[in-house]
Every structure is written in C-alpha cells, then in structure tokens.
C-alpha cells in the first residue's frame, strides 16, 4: 500500500511536468467539446432542390411554391433542362431534381393523371430517403388540395388516418443534446485508452520498466499505480466536459449525477484496461499508436456515438455489443436526456464491467515482469 503511494506520487509529478502533453490532454478536448457540436447538424431542413419547370403553368408555380414553403427544401435554382440540373447535382449544389414536364397542367386535366419526375442523389442515403419521402408527402398534400379545390370543393369524404407525432426527451429535435454526449464519450474513450497504453510503452522504450521489474514491487500494485492517475484525469475531464456542455449548450443532465459518475468509473476501468492490454503487446510508441488508433477509430464509427447502431446489419450489432463505448454512450444519453435510473442502465453497466474485467485480467496475465 505504501509502495502504491510512492508510485502515484511519481506518476502525478510526471504528468504535471509534461506541459505540452497536459495542455494537449485538457485544452484540445475542451476546444473540441465546445466547437464540434456546431458541426453536427443533420437536420434535413436544407435539402437543396433544383427545378426544371417545362410547363410554366399556374399549377406548376403553385407546386413549386408549396415545396419551397415547406421549410425542408431550399431552392438552388431553376434549370432549363434536365442536363443542366444534373450538373448542379454533380457539383453538389443540388441533392434533388424535380422535373415538371411540358404541358403538365393541360395533360393532367385531360387525362386525369400525369407524372412529375424526381431524381435524387442517392450517395447520401439519409438525405435521399428523407428528401424523397418529404417531397412525396408534399406532393400528395398538394394533390389533395387541387382535387378539393378544382373538382368538388367542400366534399372530401375519403376517410383519413392522421399521424400526430410527439418527440419525447428532445421535443425540439435539438441536435446538440445528441452530439454533446457523443463527443464527450468519444474524448474520454480516446484519452483513457491511449494514455494508459502510451504511458507504459514510454517506460518500456526508455528502459525504466526494467528497473521496476527488478524491484520487489507487486505486479498489481504497479498496474494500479499506473491506472489511478488516468482515472482521476478521466473524471476531471468528464466533469469539465459536463460543465462546458452546460455553459455553452445549456445541457443539464436530467438524471442523477451519481448514476453518471458510477458508470464513468466503471467505464474508465474498462478502457484503461484496454490501454494496458495494448501496452503489453507493444514494444514501441508506434505500435501502441497503431493499435489504439485501430480500436478507437472503430469505436468512434461503429459504437453508435455519431450514427445509429440501428442502421447496421445483425452481425455488426452483435459485434458492436462487445464494444464498451456502445454501452457507455447509451448510458450517458439515457441518464443525461431521459433521466434513467441506475436500475434502468444496470444491464449496460454490467456489460461494461464484464468486458473490463476480462480486459484487465488479460492484461495483468500478459504483463510479465519476467521474460
């Protein structure tokens, strides 16, 4: 126990002394937490639409007006023909083309039906799906309107089932509520896993680890001494992050803070274990860096931090369930936005703890004082 205190004292001193590293560890995450939520705006309000109106009739004018007035679309411009409009799509100026054929109004009245053509840039799937869906429902509404107005005003007798939707926990669909926890979790993930990995590799590369290995210090004491400083750093950063989220984005956790912090400690235990495991397999900084980048990049992209796990195929969902961040981001969102209790999140917490136990045991077994 006394040995542990000496070890901790040394770790903290070293941490505080590396000014460049400290500023990277605290200032860089903070700046990102303040700035990056601004970037994450996936409201599909700004779907750019290019219109080819070959009809120039009252009805086509009214249709266009209805679309632009809906708020979901932004009119990029009118094109004379389809090819000009396609050019706008190629240059990423438009996501969607609406083409109204010549004599649209005349033919609609004469044949009682007529087509409009939609071409959607489907490279970005969400925009394509939602944009197409929105436009279809606007056209349906518009269709209903002209039918009512032109054919038999006042006698609409088709029964209609109407959808009344409510958004719980984030009624104004504020994207910041979604993204601030994501960035916070992602930063904590990188810092905890990388720091513990790099720190031990540093001792390996400089040779000081050998001096430790010939000393009677116990393996678990040494490892505990390495992990505690980063646990403290992680808690400190998380707190700083919560404060920044409150100050800059007005986000106040709905749930209990202690639930959040209990989960954080368990999560840090797990991610530090991962870093430790990485360090036992790496002999140089470069190896530790590539390994931790490998995991963290996969975690960032697949854990449901920035995009939904629900959009992945079954095998991927199973894979993701062994990624600790996928559970922690859920817990964070559940507690911060929905006010979930400790009982509500217990399943995810248990999962993180279990993974952490495995990683740490593995790491301790794989850390040899003897070659």
């Amino acid at each position: 126990m006394r040995t542990l205190i000496f070890l901790l004292e040394k770790e903290f001193r070293q941490m505080m002394r590396n000014k460049q590293l400290m500023s990277l560890l605290i200032i860089a995450p903070l700046i990102q937490l303040i700035l990056l939520p601004l970037a994450a705006n996936y409201s599909v309000k700004n779907i750019n639409i290019a219109i080819v109106d070959n009809d120039h009739s009252t009805i086509s004018q009214r249709m266009i007006h209805k679309i632009t007035a809906s708020g979901n679309f932004r009119l990029t411009g009118y094109a004379n023909n389809y090819n000009d409009a396609l050019k706008m799509v190629e240059e990423d100026k438009a996501d969607l083309i609406l083409q109204i054929p010549a004599n649209f109004e005349k033919n609609l009245v004469r044949e009682n039906h007529n087509q409009v053509y939609l071409a959607i840039n489907a490279i970005e799937g969400t925009k394509a799906n939602l944009g197409g869906g929105y436009l279809a429902s606007i056209l349906r509404d518009f269709n209903e309107n002209i039918r009512v107005n032109w054919v038999n005003p006042g006698t609409n007798n088709t029964p209609q089932v109407v959808v009344a939707s409510t958004n719980w926990y984030n009624p104004y669909m504020n994207y910041h509520l979604y993204i601030v926890p994501a960035i916070l979790v992602s930063l904590i993930t990188s810092i905890s896993a990388m720091q513990s990995a790099f720190n031990i590799v540093q001792e390996k590369e400089s040779g000081t680890i050998e001096q430790i290995n010939v000393s009677p210090i116990r393996k678990h004491i040494f490892i505990t001494g390495k992990l505690i400083p980063f646990l403290v750093l992680g808690i400190f950063l998380f707190t700083l992050g919560l404060l920044a989220g409150w100050l800059f984005y007005g986000i106040v956790p709905v749930g209990k803070l202690y639930v959040l912090y209990i989960s954080l400690v368990v999560y840090l235990f797990t991610m530090l274990g991962l870093g430790l495991l990485i360090s036992t397999y790496s002999n140089s900084h470069q190896q530790a860096l590539s390994l931790s980048f490998f995991f963290i990049n996969i975690f960032n992209i697949m854990s449901g931090t920035f995009n939904s796990v629900d959009s992945m195929p079954g095998w991927a969902k199973t894979l993701v369930s062994v990624f600790p961040p996928s559970h922690f981001i859920r817990i964070t969102r559940m507690v911060m936005l929905k006010g979930s209790s400790l009982a509500d999140i217990s399943g995810h917490l248990a999962a993180i703890f279990l993974i952490g136990l495995i990683l740490n045991t593995w790491a301790v077994l794989n850390y040899h004082k003897t070659a």
């Binding site: 000496f6 070293q14 000081t208 000393s215 009677p216």
Partner: protein, 246 residues
C-alpha cells in the same frame, strides 16, 4: 567466505541459440565479481537470469539463498540493479527519483529523507536536488543511478555495463563508489567490456560464445596466460570466438 550467488549448469536458450551454456560459478559475500566478454557473449543474459528478469531454460541457481525459479520476488527485495540503458526518470528531479525508488523498495519516508541527504552529500549533488535528471551531465547521471540502485541497502548489486560512454575520470570515480559499497559488505556483480576495469575486480569470469572460458582473480589469470594485462588475456581467449558481436 559464504557464497551469495551459486549457479550450477545455468543455461538459457532462445529457440536454437544458446545464449548462456551451463554456467557454473559462485560469488562470495562482499566480493567484486567481474563478468567479462565481447558483445553478444552472453553476459547480459546471465545477469538477467540472476535478477529474475529472464527465466532460465535449465540448470540451478540461488541468489542470496533464494531460488531463481520460484523465489524471484524475495530475490528482488535483496538486490539492486543498474542496466546499461539509463534507468532514471528524465522528467523527475534528482530528489524525486531517489524518493521513488526508495519508495518502491518499501522504505519509509523518514528513512528515505535521511538516505537522500547522505547520498547527495556523498555525490556532492546537494545543489542539484531539485534539478531535473535530464539536465544533468551523463557522468553524474551514471553515478546517481548507481547510488539509487543501492539506496535500499541490498546485499548484492548487479551492474550491467555501467560505465558505457563515460569519460575515464568519471569511470575512476565510479569505481571508487563501487569500492566504497563493497567495503560496506555489498556484493558487486558487474559486467563490462573495458579490460582495465577487470583489473579492479576481485575475481573475473570471461565469457566466450556463451560459456565461461576462464574464472579467477586477475593476477592468477595473467599468470596462467603469461600476459602482462587483462587485455591480453582476453584477446587470447576471445580470438577464437565464433559469434559475431551484434
């Protein structure tokens, strides 16, 4: 003289490569025991086995009476170690390094404080207590590293090429330190490839291609090989070595 290190046919193989082959020797208490050999002769391997850093492939050995297979943790309490790689923390001060290493050997704060003052005054580093180790000249770092390796008063200290890259004057001072420690009863086990340093040892063993080619006091060896210096003894033995230095 009671032996503190006893080995019998101690062997270490790395795959097919036999780094150390059936080493058998004894080191007595308070002795300065030199382990000589060209680069790659197996000195460091032998030392690392005795320190508990490396598991032997076969053979027997005890260090301070403890078995090197099963009692490595007890051995570690009784030994000091200084590697050829510089082993102090660059970004800690002189004092902080001493405190840390004292601490992990289970010393109490008071003991450490007393020891620190003693050490610093012996090394005449009182003024540098708060200097970062990275700012010290190499020779001083080396002397400090030695002092730190015996801060917990071990009964044996293992030194792995401790004087690499140090000027002759500093080396001389370094050996004074070693003598001082040996006088106080510390057994010193030192590897080196400086033959003039071999003359300072009570006994030396010369390793060639993983085996001990000769073992005796420097005077006896010189007599046996009809040489005027250890340098010459070494050349005679190492001339036929098959292994290339790495």
């Amino acid at each position: 003289m009671e032996p503190v290190i006893v080995t019998e046919k101690l062997t270490k193989k790395f795959d097919d490569f036999v780094a150390a082959n059936e080493l058998t020797f004894e080191v007595g208490k308070g002795e300065i025991f030199g382990f000589l050999g060209a680069n790659g002769a197996g000195k460091t391997t032998a030392m690392r086995m005795l320190c508990g850093l490396l598991k032997p492939s076969s053979g027997k050995a005890t260090v301070t009476g403890f078995d090197i297979y099963t009692q490595t943790e007890q051995i570690k309490k009784n030994i000091g170690y200084m590697s050829q790689k510089f082993s102090l923390y660059d970004n800690l001060t002189v004092k902080e390094n001493i405190r840390f290493y004292g601490g992990i050997y289970g010393m109490r704060r008071k003991e450490i404080a007393v020891k620190t003052d003693e050490l610093l005054s012996m090394l005449q580093l009182q003024g540098e207590a708060k200097t970062l180790v990275s700012e010290l000249p190499l020779g001083w770092k080396q002397k400090l590293a030695f002092s730190v390796s015996i801060v917990h008063d071990p009964s044996i200290v293992f030194l792995d090429e401790p004087t690499g890259g140090v000027d002759p004057v500093t080396r001389r001072q370094f050996w004074d330190q070693i003598y001082y420690a040996a006088d106080k009863g510390v057994t010193v086990f030192v590897t080196t490839h400086y033959m003039d340093e071999a003359e300072y040892c009570n006994r030396v063993s010369i390793m060639v291609d993983g085996v001990i080619a000769a073992l005796d006091s420097p005077a006896a060896l010189k007599k046996q090989y009809h040489s005027s210096s250890m340098q010459d003894v070494f050349y005679q033995l190492a001339r036929n070595a098959k292994r290339k230095a790495d």
